[in-house]
Chain length 591, copies 2
Amino acid sequence: MKTTYTLSADTMKDLIEVASGKQGADLAISRARLLNVYTGEFLDDQCISVKNGYIAFVGNNADHTITDHTRRINAKGKTVIPGLIEGHTHLASFCDISRFIPYAVQDGTTTIVTETMEAYPIMGYDGVRELLASFRNQPIKIFGTAPAMVSISPAASGIHPDDLKNLLDRDDILGLGESYWQSVFQTPDRILPAFETTLRAGKVLEGHSAGAGGNKLSAYLATGISSCHEPIDADQALERLRSGLYVMIREGSIRRDLEGIARIRDAGVDTRRLILVTDGVSPEDLMARKGLSFVVQKAIDSGFTPAEAVQMATLNVAEHFSLDAVVGGIAPGRCADMVIIPEPGIITPETVISNGKIIFTNKQMQVSPRRHIFSDVCRHTVNLPRPLTSEDFAVPADPEQKTARVRLMEMVTDLVTREIFLPLPVIHGQIRTDAEKDLLKISAIDRAISPGSLFTGFIKGFGLKDGAIASSQAWDTSDIVVVGACDTDMADAVNHIHKRQGGVVIRAQGKCLAEIPLPVMGLISEIPVPQLVRQIQAVKTALARLGVGFPDPLLTLITLTGAAIPYLRICEQGLVNLKDGKRLGIFPEDS
Amino acid sequence: MKTTYTLSADTMKDLIEVASGKQGADLAISRARLLNVYTGEFLDDQCISVKNGYIAFVGNNADHTITDHTRRINAKGKTVIPGLIEGHTHLASFCDISRFIPYAVQDGTTTIVTETMEAYPIMGYDGVRELLASFRNQPIKIFGTAPAMVSISPAASGIHPDDLKNLLDRDDILGLGESYWQSVFQTPDRILPAFETTLRAGKVLEGHSAGAGGNKLSAYLATGISSCHEPIDADQALERLRSGLYVMIREGSIRRDLEGIARIRDAGVDTRRLILVTDGVSPEDLMARKGLSFVVQKAIDSGFTPAEAVQMATLNVAEHFSLDAVVGGIAPGRCADMVIIPEPGIITPETVISNGKIIFTNKQMQVSPRRHIFSDVCRHTVNLPRPLTSEDFAVPADPEQKTARVRLMEMVTDLVTREIFLPLPVIHGQIRTDAEKDLLKISAIDRAISPGSLFTGFIKGFGLKDGAIASSQAWDTSDIVVVGACDTDMADAVNHIHKRQGGVVIRAQGKCLAEIPLPVMGLISEIPVPQLVRQIQAVKTALARLGVGFPDPLLTLITLTGAAIPYLRICEQGLVNLKDGKRLGIFPEDS
């Protein structure tokens, strides 16, 4: 895979000269215990010499590479591992990249591959471009995958072929992002050509085969998909490994599957295609230091050897993305991305080196991430033709009837929903909810593609006793999603987001109880992580007071528009049961 | 890596339908023990269903994929492994591809990656193009690497940047072929830009680091080289693995290193970057069945587990070339390339399936390789401005002196030479050789780039007592190489090759004793392998009678112009000591 980091002839020449002792190294680490991820060995007394950001020499004695101008690190008693690689995450979510990077760096992460799907429904190609621009010229490497745009909203579905081609032409796009398996079967004519385009660009297809197995898994993988981060236990992981997939073990804020999958060690199989990923770390988990080094540590604590665990967050990831000529190991010609840890089994980064520069040491960042100035367009992404009123959330029914039997989303877990049918009272020709019985309204309002398009349905089991919560971050769509016990609060919450041009808002009794401004694309905050966490916690506290008991109620809310988590979901055009992907109305006959 | 075999959207759709039971498979293997190279497991009772040349389904029960039109193979009691992949060989040598393929197929080889360097000095880009054309539409997949053209002849050195770009644009070119390490240091300004071009095309650099270690190896690998097929023992192999290289263990007609390297198992290291290659199988070894299945078997017999050994000739090779989405394992979406063997440790192909077709079974080829009709240009590649005479091989010296001290190539082994200096008699102003003392003449005559350019030097230890042997195949050059005890026989041998437009010829006492016509580019015979072997054996018998005692005297001869084997070599412009790459004349002062 060609990247910005591909060696130039001039750099090659410099590296040859350093390794041959004809030119001094910029940086030399000496006397380290080194994890060689290619062989899986810890080798003692190793020296590593660096020039122009690349490794020029690795061996027992690097004296010939050292001059007075060489910065030296004596790593005696310490262990050096390659910079960690995050293989699957979502960086366009809450945290600005410049706020996020220090946490990643302290984790020893020097390369990240992220989805970009959040930006596309909001701003199309320009949104992804702007996001990628914010990732450039940072202290660490950040690559993206093009958005596959599997969405329950027809408006947000699919990436335009030209946009895909343009993105695949970029050096910082490594493949096509996760394409949920059901949608591949439901809309092959849209998705498979994008797969073909991606494969012909020599790039990978990221998979998402949650719950699939047997014939369905075979059918899905026969399309050329090469990874999945969705297995939740060792059996699912093993079935996917056997199918030739890179299995990404997810241990992050959305799910924690590592402990369950770690039993795969008992099978004694080749681990080269196991990868550790977070799939996203929430601002709170960032502050709680539950990033990638935590995951690698947990893998070790769960029974993987230190070498295996680090391979799963370095070489294996690099090989999956064909980046192994550039990153993923400590060898001549690779980018000088290294982490000094106390000893093999203790993944506590003490010094982090990225592109040959010390970016973290003595518990201090040594560089500042670049603050990207997002364009004005990025700051005006909540488009509604007019302020909403409570009438916009009215759901009419036959005024002659006292009740109407309606289709509801019922929360089965904090993330999974199912389709149920219940009679709701009809008063003055409108279907009424009942917060006491945990029957609420849920609406999705398009804010970008067909601004103002709105659909209102019903939800059971969300727990809100009063008011409304709305968010301009709503998975896989360009929607604002709002759940409410009161139509006026729902309207006010959406209007508040409109006014602020993005954010999460809780309103009740005519007042704003808490909010998280998300001024960039309506997705991203720009404030420091501790402040952001305080805002998030205020939202959670307010929600708890209003009766919502989910562990992460914000995640629960914003996934209700998602196309990946079963079963009944909502978008601005209606409800969708992911089992068949068909759009549904609120009445049983609307199917 | 994009190839001709990259999945199309239409094929994806068919595969989904087969795996889902909506369309019948073309071929189904049932009840096999299957080697899953991704996990390293042998799994019992597996079924594999194939459509349009690709694997649609793998699992315990494939009944849903089978219709009356499905060809079925009951593999109960048998083992299925992926089609073998030859990762480094030289197919433009002696054997026509259509003659070669049946041997490869019986070996279970379904994918080959070959060097193309032999064609380039002779015919330039068109030669490589024609060679690649001969590889197309064959029963198995054949990829090439672009010629790096490391040569001791300045005329044959380097590939034109435009030619390299054109080749790298091709789907059947996977990288840049072997670039001998000394030359990289000696002519970095020519070679490193080609390296950069290759890496920027997202393709690999094949290495050749024979004998390099420590600083030199680091320096060489810092250029982005990613493989080496030259280690000869476990220590060299381990050093290269640790350096992030794919280590190709060579077991072929040129060298047999497997037994020595197999001790690397004792180190207990990760074997994912070990690869088994032949680096070329001579026609005689083809007939003796010493191809790739023999090598895999030998790896098992040398202590590798059957799973490791097969991985080393399938998945590991595919990963090195970023071909693992296409070949290298038995999983949905991969090309249906499979080999049925009796049991895990017995690599005796009984049935070979390539692109979903049974191409070998019941000890019979089921398809005919395509006979490529090489263009007329390929058949007229021996260009000499005029017939040579014995005078052309005269080496003048000061007629006043009785002896001249000259530089000689001395054979140290059958392949390695060294530079020595000896006094040779001067008679009538010409330096004389002495076959009795095993002092002979050796000449290199350019037949393509600067036709007729000729250089004559001296060689000791070749063993020829009379006559001459000449060959239009001469490594890394466009030369005819000739060794002789008699100037007239030397001239006649070269003229004979000129007349025949390619071949190997032995002449003595004014007669042709044996010959191997090589009409295609002067490199390739078109006759069946058994006939070709008889010609080769006749040459060897004739050479033995003339006193040449090398195990493979033909190989000894044609490598004398090579740039890879130490130390003193010859080309049409002089002698070269590979230690420094400097051109030398025959007199000590010519340096």
